[in-house]
Symmetry: C2
Subunit: 194 residues, 2 copies
Amino acid sequence: MSVMEDTRDRIVASASAQIQRHGHVKTTVADVAKHCGMSPANIYRFFPTKAALIEAVSEIWLALAEDNARAIARQPSCASARIREFLVGVHEFNRDRYTRNGEVHETVVAATMERWPIVARHEKVIISIFASILEDGVRNGEFEIDDIEGTASVMVAAMVKFHNPIMVAQYHGESLTEQATALSDFMLKAIRKR
Amino acid sequence: MSVMEDTRDRIVASASAQIQRHGHVKTTVADVAKHCGMSPANIYRFFPTKAALIEAVSEIWLALAEDNARAIARQPSCASARIREFLVGVHEFNRDRYTRNGEVHETVVAATMERWPIVARHEKVIISIFASILEDGVRNGEFEIDDIEGTASVMVAAMVKFHNPIMVAQYHGESLTEQATALSDFMLKAIRKR
DNA sequence: TGACTGATAATAATTGTTTTTTGTCAATAC
DNA sequence: GTATTGACAAAAAACAATTATTATCAGTCA
């Protein structure tokens, strides 16, 4: 069973590399199969459709963004500073990724527009990571918040301009980083204890 | 000179009707010309390109959204209530327009994605209308705000999910109205005097 | 003299055809 | 008996030939 898992991972890794080079439209399952030294038909033993394969690849990419967010949330600084860092850090991570690699951007945009299930899941993960910062802030007396999950949800919704792939690409070139900092300062006013 | 202005307006009105029926891709300047009882060449006396004509049409559509926003901003209720109304009202105006008429939506999305100058202008107008509510609130002691224009800018940025045509269409079906209300309540905490 | 048109070149969209690609399944290999 | 494949039908993409559209401009009309 470990061998099968291994093969699956090899396929996903190969597909990820191919898509980063040629985009998810141009990469064919025949290409991926050839790179893995197997027949196209064998890919379909692991993934019901090409779309499912692309979804698996996107899942890995979104997981990288989640790791980045988690790293910021776990820093030793005070909760307010981490909120600021979160807004700016998540924005810059996405901005760099999407401006650096157009193929990755194109794929994630498709995932977002067509509302693949993984995107909804990713959004929930981001909200819960953000909520963990709020929780810390409430615990140590920095913040005063009734409903932490609800507040996290609202705050992440307010950040859409800075992390949604379509928005990030649309405003590229302009200094969204400054705006992200301004938004974090504004939002901190709403939750800071006084 | 009034006759020329008249002709221009007739062209824009006709183009607006055509685009609402068939979309801005399918409507040709020949179509618009025929509907106005003139030759295609004559359109080019008023608009340098087809794109410029479409831009003029979009400008009128955006102006309708601005009128709606202004109407909300000028209501007699307290500033806090108007902020709430603004978030929900602007969202629902755009949602209804874009779900009701796909062609209008398609055109405004193109304007937004390709960053036509009118969109940047529209954004500034919306911010200044919103700022007028903040100003009222500061004047009558409801709010406490340092930089009104800056704050309006940040708050409108936070509303992107609820008024940007791409975002509104993407989340259609889900109850964004509730989320908009939640966001307005959250943001009011940041500016309310206490 | 200013508002408009007909004819037309350059560019872009459409249509119909050929070639790939996706996805299935019975057959093979290990 | 489990992992894999080759052969193949249905669906989609690429291509080339054709048609339509944009934009220009010298010239007409009132």
